[in-house]
């Protein structure tokens, strides 16, 4: 990710809910082929408090289809994406799975990183040790309300890249980009050399371009997942990711 950023490329990380539809692994591969720099795969959880209605619905459907943490991670081991895959899930899944066992299973199945939005810096220690020992990169989130001194600490402990939350709120599409998105990106860029990606409320190619003027790239979740919920498959995902890619490449 860092090398791509240093080469002048804007980074694109689409989010896909694992287990949503029989072809979800093909969706992940299609995102990769269409120009994603990494794919964030959600391991569905019963109580996703950082997620808005779209990803809640996707999680409910995936769980109803029998998705489990082990099945999602194992399936990712079979995906030949050629780019880093990171999982996003809630802490109880990690805690119940066992820190070291969960970290090892990610490595064994070729998953390079993890995002755990309800595990803030304050509670991060035990998982951080297990993840670092196993070689899993934990991407930490920073929020618009995070004070400056804490922002520095988050960037020091984040691995791979840092995830700036673009607005005060849960995941979901918004009609326009929040002013807080660019501010978040600038504040992070001022304190870290890690790639800074902005997510939450980034829904369209235009919004991706707008925030990437300040950021190194974007995470786009609900806008893609909505297309999947509406019946879209790998082709629809590839088309949307392709649009985002072209728009970001057009910035150069």
């Amino acid at each position: 990710m860092r090398a791509a950023r240093d080469a002048g490329r804007k980074l694109l990380v689409p989010y896909v809910t694992g287990g949503l539809g029989a072809d979800w692994c093909d969706v992940v591969a299609a995102c990769a082929a269409a120009g994603a720099d990494a794919v964030e795969v959600g391991i569905p959880f019963s109580d996703p408090v950082m997620d808005g209605p779209t990803i809640q619905e996707a999680s409910t459907r995936a769980l109803a289809r029998g998705a489990t943490p082990a099945s999602i991670v194992a399936a990712l081991g079979e995906v030949d994406a050629g780019i880093p895959l990171v999982v996003m899930t809630y802490y109880n899944v990690v805690f119940r799975g066992g820190h070291r066992r969960f970290a090892r299973s990610l490595v064994e199945h070729g998953v390079s990183g993890a995002i755990v939005p309800d595990l803030p810096l304050d509670e991060f220690g035990e998982w951080a040790r297990a993840a670092d020992d196993a070689g899993v990169e934990t991407i930490l989130l920073a929020a618009p309300t995070t004070p400056d001194d804490r922002l520095v600490e988050i960037c020091e402990r984040s691995r791979g890249w840092v995830y700036g939350v673009g607005l005060m709120g849960v995941t979901g599409e918004r009609t326009s980009l929040a002013a807080s998105a660019a501010t978040m990106a600038k504040r992070l860029k001022a304190v870290t050399d890690l790639p800074v990606l902005i997510g939450v409320g980034v829904s369209t190619p235009e919004q991706a371009v707008e925030v990437s003027a300040a950021a190194d790239g974007v995470v786009v979740g609900s806008a893609l997942v909505r297309r999947l919920l509406e019946g879209g498959g790998p082709e629809a995902a590839a088309a949307f990711v392709g649009e985002l890619r072209s728009a970001l490449d057009g910035m150069a």
Partner: protein, 387 residues
């Protein structure tokens, strides 16, 4: 202080903590600082105490139940939280949090509710303080507690039905947390029990400890000694925490009664949800399971972290009561003492009925039960169940 403060990182033993999105961390820190300052401020205690007395109706009495005692062969005392303004112990907590909301300069309050008691109490305090109030309530609960929905609306609150997940208390908490993530800079989240991220479990227990402190003095005045056993129902566990705070340094045995279909401690597996590490009803993958109880207020798969700790250390014992025996206890208290209990509180009664005369609660023992609320809200539901 009978129950100690948690550690600086909000732990009761291994339980508790602050497992929340980064966006909410500053608000929890702000709340902790505001509570710490207020709780050490005599002027705050003066105002809080005055409001609970002149507005809330405190102190509530302890009633000795002569006919029920004769029936069960144990001496039964009830701490009468049903006699507070709004009809449950929830008022003790919301008055405290409303005062803190004002101290923090926030104008909007959100809350979750199961049975509606905490929602009604929050709407009441918001009306009193002139604060905007939004209450999240699962669709299932909106239906079975229709009267409380109307009551909240009458008090000026917006009640938002929650249709996700099990459509009960757990999901109302999720939705309130989502609202808080979006509006945290202007909004206080008034959590109704000893649950959630630090400082809530500690703060809510402190606000509820008044009922335990009162009950201890009142029991001594009536009996001339501390009770042998102290019993309270446990959903999140706020009335039990407040009660236990008054008796933890006495020889009394402390018993918390969970609903059979939502017994987090009975289930015995630690987990993390709603900002806290505690016992949690969940499957092997860590998915939180739906609770099932006749009582909306106990329909919750988690439990306050301090209860997990008190269970782990053995200072308190946690047991369960099933729907049928709860209904029987509901009728029994109504008919022997002329007191209609909330279905939640009837769980504590049901255990006493079952245990009376056994080693758990020997004949002649003195048992104090916290009657956390009155049953008016449940009458329509019970009528349907009994017909």
């Amino acid at each position: 202080m009978a129950l100690p403060e948690p550690s600086p990182d909000g732990r009761f033993g291994e339980f508790g903590g602050r497992f929340i999105p980064e966006s909410l961390i500053p608000a929890c820190r702000e709340l902790e600082a505001a509570f710490r300052a207020a709780w050490g401020d005599p002027a705050f205690h003066e105002e809080y105490g005055r409001l609970l007395r002149d507005y809330g109706g405190r102190p509530t009495p302890v009633t000795e139940c002569h006919r029920l005692s004769e029936r069960l062969g144990v001496r039964v005392l009830l701490k009468r939280e049903d006699l507070t303004h709004t009809g449950s112990h929830k008022i003790n907590n919301v008055v405290g949090q409303a005062l803190l909301t004002r101290r923090m300069g926030k104008q909007r309050v959100i809350a979750e509710t199961g049975a509606g008691q905490h929602g009604v109490a929050t709407a009441t305090a918001c009306a009193l303080f002139g604060l905007e109030c939004v209450v999240y309530m699962g669709e299932v609960d909106v239906e079975r507690q229709a009267l409380n929905v109307f009551r909240m609306e009458l008090l000026g609150a917006d009640v938002i039905p929650v249709g996700s997940g099990s459509r009960t208390l757990k999901d109302a908490v999720n939705e309130a947390l989502r609202d808080w993530v979006a509006n945290v800079e202007t909004t206080h989240y008034c959590i109704g029990s000893v649950m959630g991220p630090h400082p809530y479990p500690w703060m809510v227990r402190e606000f509820q400890s008044i009922l335990g402190t009162e009950a201890r003095e009142q029991t001594r005045a009536i009996v001339g000694a501390d009770p042998d056993v102290v019993v309270a129902c446990v959903g999140g566990g706020s009335n039990a925490a407040g009660t236990f705070a008054g008796f933890a340094d006495t020889p009394a045995r402390l018993v918390g009664v969970e609903a059979e279909g939502g017994a987090a401690i009975g289930h015995g597996v630690p987990g993390v949800v709603h900002g806290m590490k505690s016992f949690l009803v969940q499957d092997e993958e860590g998915q939180v399971l739906e609770a099932h109880s006749i009582s909306a207020g106990l329909d919750y798969p988690g439990v306050g972290p301090e209860h997990s700790y008190l269970s782990a250390t053995g200072r308190a014992t946690y047991v369960t009561a099933g729907d049928d025996e709860v209904l029987d206890a509901f009728k029994l208290l109504s008919q022997t003492e002329g007191i209609i209990p909330a279905l939640e509180s009837a769980h504590a009664l049901a255990w006493v009925v079952r245990a009376a005369g056994t080693d758990e609660l020997p004949t002649g023992a003195v048992v104090l039960i916290t009657l956390s609320g009155r049953g008016d809200k449940d009458v329509a539901q019970v009528r349907e169940l009994l017909s």
